[in-house]
Amino acid sequence: MGRGLRAAFRALLRKPVRVRYLTEAGEMVPVPERYRGKITYDKGACIGCLLCIRTCPSGAISTTEEKKVEFSVFKCTFCGQCAEICPKKAVKLGSDFELVVYEKEGMVVR
């Protein structure tokens, strides 16, 4: 009982634990360097080898008419396999974690 009491009063006197979502300036909190967020795609660098489609575990990647690919973020599981396999580093997993959109179109990366 004594230990629990001591721990509880210590917590009472301290600042409560808080994980911020926005910084003081109102921007998103920074994420670690390796964070796997929303996919970014450099279409110019893409050579259309389609290796990413072959290894994507969730079928989130599809081909387009111009022999490039597009990514459905709704299906993406953020494993980062496409970014890893891409020989031209055209695909990256960015730092954007706020995946809320009004139009579904916003969740397709072309």
């Binding site: 009982m1 629990g4 509880a8 009472l12 409560p16 634990v17």
Partner: protein, 316 residues
């Protein structure tokens, strides 16, 4: 007439204070866990939200009892909170109203319990039997701890009489006599059980029996059942403060304001009482089992209250 007006005014005040006290309790509870916690006004939002929801009656329930139980429960515990407030403000009270207050608190527990058992839900049935055990556990020491006060205040069972006898003594009961000091300890030890918080929340233990007797309630009926609980813990902490810790130099208000000032002072200090008897236990303890909770009630509080009764009868 003035007393009746005070009582009528105290009813909404008791509702307001019950919800406010729950908010304070939740905030302090959260801070002791390292959380930010909900705003103090959260119980008001919850109450208002639940009032706007629909009440669902299970088909296996006996509807009349199921629906009326929380109403009676809330009414009786609000009344139990309002009577002390009103008698402090009006400076008068009825003979034997202390018995009435404690009876109303028990009534509130029993009504919620009956309502839960009439829901036809097995969890409600288990909650009923557990609450029954708890009632037997804490009622005896709770009532016994009042006896010494009555003995020390000319055999009065009037709430205001007991408060006034502390004014007459110039000190509060908790420090006046050994017997009343033990009684104070017994009363405080009973509050967590009577308010039904962890470690004594066995009748509604959410991880075991899914809030027990509250399991089928929803909407306005749930709001009232929860209000009944809040009002009970408000009434208990207010009673504990005024019956045992009404230190006249501290609480006797300015003469021109009379009873209202001391009532406001008591309300201002009551959260400290609640923090000690409700918030701290529910923060630092794990939930007991029924048997353990019963054993606790019949060991520490009962010994203390028995001791205080014996001491006061012997004249200490």
């Amino acid at each position: 007439m003035a007393a009746l007006a005070a009582l009528l005014a105290s009813l909404p005040a008791a509702v307001f204070l019950s919800l406010l006290f729950e908010g304070i309790d939740r905030k302090l509870h959260a801070r002791m866990q390292g959380r930010i916690g909900p705003p103090v006004t959260q119980p008001f939002y919850d109450f208002a939200k639940l009032l706007n929801k629909e009440s669902v009656f299970p088909s296996s329930s006996s509807k009349a009892i199921f629906a009326s139980a929380p109403v009676i429960a809330a009414a009786s515990s609000i009344l139990a909170g309002a009577i002390p407030l009103a008698s402090l403000v009006a400076g008068t009270s009825v003979v034997g109203d202390l018995i009435l207050i404690l009876y109303l608190l028990t009534m509130s527990s029993i009504m919620v319990m009956i309502g839960g058992s009439s829901s036809g839900n097995p969890y409600g049935a288990i909650g009923f039997s557990r609450k029954m055990v708890m009632l037997i556990g804490y009622e005896v020491p709770l009532l016994a701890s009042i006896l010494p006060l009555s003995l020390k205040s000319q055999h009065s069972f009037s709430y205001h009489g007991i408060v006034q006898s502390q004014v007459g003594m110039g000190t509060c009961f908790a420090f006046a006599y050994p017997s009343s000091a033990f009684a104070a300890a017994a009363f405080l030890a009973c509050i967590p059980a009577a308010a039904g918080v962890v470690p004594f929340d066995v009748p509604e233990a959410k991880t075991e029996i899914v809030h027990g007797y509250l399991v089928e309630y929803g909407g306005p009926h749930l709001a009232l059942a929860r209000l009944a609980k809040d009002a009970a813990s408000f009434a208990l902490s207010f009673l504990a403060l005024t019956l045992f810790f009404y230190h006249p130099p501290l609480f006797e208000g300015h003469a021109s304001l009379g009873g209202l000032a001391s009532a406001i002072l008591c309300v201002a200090f009551a959260p400290a009482m609640m923090f000690l008897t409700v918030t701290v236990p529910r923060t630092v303890f794990a939930r007991l089992k029924v048997g353990q909770a019963f054993k606790f009630c019949w060991s520490l509080p009962l010994t203390l209250s028995a001791l205080s009764v014996v001491l006061s009868a012997a004249g200490f």
